[in-house]
Amino acid sequence: MSGHSTYEPKYAAERWLDKRLPIVRMGVDFMGFPSPRNLNYWYAFGGILTMCLMIQIITGIILAMHYTPDVNIAFDSVQRIRRDVPFGWLLQPIHAVGASMFFLAVYIHMFRGMFYGSYKNPRELLWIIGCLIYLAMMATGFLGYTLPWGQMSFWGATVITGFFGAIPIVGESLQQWLLGGYSVGNPTLQRFFSLHYLLPFVIAALVGLHIWAVHHVGQNNPIGIEPKSKKDTLPFHPFYTMKDAFAIAVFLMIFALFVFYLPDALGHADNYQRANPMVTPPHIVPEWYFLPFYAILRAVPDKLLGIILMFGAIAVLFVLPWLDTAKVRSMRFRPITRWFFIIFLVMCFILGWCGANSPDDVAIPIGEHGMTFKWVSRIATLYYFAYFIPILPVMGWIEKTKPVPESITKAVLSGDA
């Protein structure tokens, strides 16, 4: 997709600069990048995510000017930001809500990619870089949630670092090395702060690779066929910058609704209690964006197996491009598989619902004793993995797909795009 340059410097100063450092040329070519003309609003989430990362970095750098990573002061320093620091009441919730908005956008972006087959040849690496960004986001989100040093922060950190303790033989030493002591304490908080500050820049670098890759192989589109002529594409600017701008405005309205009216709706009341190593809150749950994985972790009675399944749920995403054997990319032309995908989506929500509840409580009142959340999450976990193996590879072989349009332009003009 990286064709020859269309930039023509008009003024002497531009020509002078272009000869020495073609930075304007690079920007112009970057923004004029030919994009399929049939991209819908689901394709706006790349732009939304870039904005989310920028919001988190800017507010994060500001918060770091006022925050103190010390077990005795951390909790108060966050409260001080919210009460005493000028506009701290605004900046701290933007950062906290921003994390949730970032994950909301990334989940939509990922499901979009899964529905339209955006991970297929030649976009495997683009997808894998995306998975790495998602992993780095999860690490950053977890580290950041520890910093306010409330009850959920402390016990979340204890449970998650406990995963490493489950590794045979080296587990305990590894866990102590990660914590810098026998349990979660001041050394843990300080290193978590340091790494929480570092990782967003790693994410930014990966985003750079992600965008480079998408510019090299070109964007996928809702009908999943490659642009064949110049007519099939539009320059990214102004067409998609404007479309993205509108989507960003709508997204920011939802963002603002949470920041101004529901700043604590996505958090937990327990985190307004100071961390107390002597008392575990009666009901500890992670942030909403980790709930499906938490449900998978608890679905099995074995500690190590639970952890393996939970990490497996993420690892399987990395090999998705090779598990889906279908030649046709978009689910629009896959009449049966699209239903399997929709069930997969529903199962992810069900897992989230299970993760938010106690495993032994009754989820569905059927039968004599009712069905507990543990059993619902077992069924949903089974489907989660079954979608990747065997549903996707087998459907790729046996499904009769619908005819794919000849070109993007033809599909657009006939109203099928």
Binding site: G165, S183, T280
Partner: protein, 183 residues
């Protein structure tokens, strides 16, 4: 370097190959020597390790009570068990346990060489993911972990739920009739 350079006329590796390998090996050792402090600094610091032992006065606990003392950032439970709880712990068939251990093996002998089955001393941390179990709760009236639903009996042994092991008995010793040193 072409293939012919790899051996001299006698078919032996050349001096130059030796120098390359030796240089590479020295560089690898150097990188390792620099990386070691960078990795090692994350472990427990000397002051953290130094604060690793405490003394507990057991005479403060009376029957049916539980004392919680912070040790290495984790609570140590000192539970003065009732006769009913001791009987319940003794009545269990050890072979049926997930982490088989007799109740008697969960105590340290006092200076007279006897164990006091009334005073159970253990690390009050669930062996699943490190939450603090709630006392006098669960299906076995021992401890119950609220995080992921592990049930422990009156001896702190795992009986039901996801935790793999019994709650840990810390290393401790009686330094007088009523005072123990943990760690």
């Amino acid at each position: 370097m072409s293939d012919t350079d790899k051996f001299d006329e006698n078919g032996e590796p050349t001096r130059r190959d030796f120098i390359y390998i030796a240089t590479g090996a020295a560089a690898a050792v150097g990188v390792g020597a620099v990386a070691w402090p960078l990795v090692s600094q994350m472990g427990a610091a000397a002051d953290t390790r130094a604060a690793g032992s405490i003394e507990i006065d057991l005479s403060k606990v009376s029957e049916g009570q539980q004392l919680k003392v912070l040790w290495r950032g984790k609570p140590v439970f000192v539970r003065y068990r009732t006769q009913k709880e001791i009987d319940a712990a003794d009545a269990v068939d050890v072979a049926t346990l997930r982490d088989p251990q007799a109740d008697d093996d969960r105590f340290v002998a006092n200076p007279e060489g006897k164990i006091n089955k009334n005073l159970l001393v253990m690390v009050g941390v669930c062996t699943h993911f490190g939450c603090i179990p709630v006392g006098e709760a669960g299906d076995f009236d021992g401890w119950y972990c609220p995080c992921h639903g592990s049930h422990y009996d009156t001896s702190g042994r795992i009986r039901k739920g996801p935790a793999p092991l019994n709650m840990e008995i810390p290393k401790y010793a009686y330094i007088s009739d009523t005072v123990i040193k943990v760690g």
